[in-house]
């Protein structure tokens, strides 16, 4: 359970389509990494899969049902999303933030139960946030903050977890910690995990399936060995890279060494700098 796929999914802001007629299948019970250059539509796709963005055409499906036909609460119990760079209200403690993950389980009057209590305790424990639970989120370091948000998504107890750049802001140690955590959730609890990462070596090592996006299109999808190749890197990122094989595990390691001569990766234009990102409020 927890199978996600899309059919001719078209996502757009204003007039411009970011993702057009996309068909992808996310393997159930696996860890999938979405990779691609800045602005290629990774966040947009994730938002489309989680019903944060209404499609212009096509649809996304969870276990064969169109996500737009499901009651919001039911979807939220099955699919959780951590958007890119969320901002917590001033003074909200980690524990209060994590408790919000239980929202889809509450009704008019029933607003807190033993199950909620346990889910919050478990989420804090898994993410190593127990000692920081009483601290305000805005008084934490970037990495601690990221883990607090992940804990909130975990408290939601969904079989599918979508995470937009969960390792950004983290140091090497905490990046690995988060990736280990996600893989553990997948291996031990069978959750389907989809994450956006920029570090290809992390994508290769910690995921079962890699989808490389460029300009809203899937350039390559498959196992890390199939996707992390010098051809794909040239086409998607416009870089020349050596591909080695990890001596222990055999997963590919990439070492970029030069920019392609005539790469088809657009240099960021001024309008993409000026384009406002929604949903981030600086209070």
């Amino acid at each position: 359970m927890g199978e996600i796929c899309t059919e001719r999914l078209t996502l757009a802001y204003d007039e411009r389509a970011v993702v057009a007629g996309l068909d992808i299948v996310i393997p159930t019970g696996r860890v999938t990494a979405l990779v691609g250059p800045n602005g290629c539509g990774k966040s947009t796709l994730l938002r489309g899969l989680a019903r944060l963005l209404k499609p212009r055409g096509g649809s996304a499906y969870l276990d064969g049902r169109s996500i737009w036909r499901m009651p919001t609460r039911e979807l939220a119990r099955q699919l959780g999303i951590l958007p890119q760079a969320p901002v917590a209200p001033e003074g909200l403690t980690v524990r209060d933030l994590v408790a919000q993950g239980r929202y889809p389980y509450h009704g008019w009057l029933n607003r807190w139960s033993e199950a909620d209590e346990e889910a919050v305790a478990r989420a804090l424990d898994i993410t190593g946030m127990v000692d920081l639970a009483h601290r305000p989120v805005d008084a934490l370091s970037g990495g601690q903050r990221q883990r607090a948000w992940i804990a909130m998504a975990l408290a939601q107890e969904t079989k599918v977890l979508l995470l937009d750049e969960p390792t950004t802001y983290l140091d090497m140690h905490h990046q690995l910690e988060v990736l280990h955590l996600l893989r553990r959730l997948n291996r031990e609890e069978g959750r389907t995990v989809v994450l956006v990462v920029h570090n290809l070596n992390h994508a290769a090592r910690y995921s079962d399936h890699v989808v490389a996006l460029s300009d809203g299109k899937v350039v390559a999808a498959g196992t890390p060995q199939e996707v992390v190749t010098s051809e794909v890197l040239r086409e998607v990122f416009g870089v020349e890279a050596h591909i080695l094989s990890d001596p222990d595990t055999g997963v590919p390691l990439c070492i970029p060494y030069a920019l392609c001569e005539n790469s088809n990766v657009r240099a960021p234009s001024m309008d993409s700098f000026a384009a406002p990102h929604t949903g981030h409020i600086h209070v």
């Binding site: 019903r51 919001t72 209200p89 009057l109 209590e117 409020i281």
Partner: protein, 348 residues
Amino acid sequence: MRRAWLVVGRQQTSLSFRLDRRVPVWLLGLAGAALVASVLSVGVGEYPISSLDVIRAVLGLETGNPDHSFIVRTLRLPRVLVALGIGAALAVSGVIMQGLTRNPLASPELTGVTAGASLAAVVLLVATPAASVVALPWAALLGAVIAAGLVYLLSWRGDDSPLRLILVGIGLTSIIGALTTVMVTFGEIDDVARALVWLTGSVYGTSWEGLRALVPWMAVFLPAALILARHLDVLHLGEDVARGLGSRVELQRGLLLLTAAALVAATVTVAGTVGFVGLIAPHIARRLVGPSHEGVLPTAALTGSLIVVLADLLGRTLFAPVEIPCGVVTAVIGAPFFMYLLYRNRNN
């Protein structure tokens, strides 16, 4: 493990919720303070009455002076009760607006919602001078909703900049305020006291009739705010996170905004523009009990009640026998606080 919060109700019972541990203590403390302030306020005036006699008269007991009952129960009590009520209503609508917009500067008077409600009520009064106290809140509600919609249209750009919302709100407030002044001046509202209410915000001369107009609105919309508290909590995390958690964002936003507008409309009808209560009370409440709304809403309500009762008391005693409307007192306290908030948010 010691629970970090108080959990009320069990799974078997139909009602269960969690509260910050600080909430009950502060609620008791604030309720006590508001009660004391109210008793003092009823006792003060041209004809001072001791606190003990105030309590006796309110409870219908003999005080040994036949005038006490009339002075306390007919003249002074409704005024203090209205002050308590509008304080709570303004504070709750301020909490809702700040939570919805994720903007610490949002409040009914700074977003133009109060001004819209006043104008609509004045227009109704001028058009049909015999309009009953019962019809006024409906007109005010319409005005409040229109003003809220206008501010939203004019200031929304996808990102939410706290200062833009407030600039648009203040601009709208001054335009609507000017229109209101014109209406009051040329509209031949016979009742001078009533006109003054629209311009300054005062509980002067409120009767039981005013209180009766206020109570039904409070009885519906204060509980509504509490019921919506958990939705406000997730909306406070931002639109994307709220949607991801399964919030029907547009619906909840609409209900919350309607609740805030209705509470403002009811207060405006009875007491005009009592400014800054809806700005200050939420900040105090969050400082006391943290940002979870099930705790913030009642705490802010009592804080607002206390502020307005004290403002009214101060306004009557500072320069007695001259009375300063409580709206002027709250503005004198509130304006520096607003400056302080502006300063703190200057980087956004």
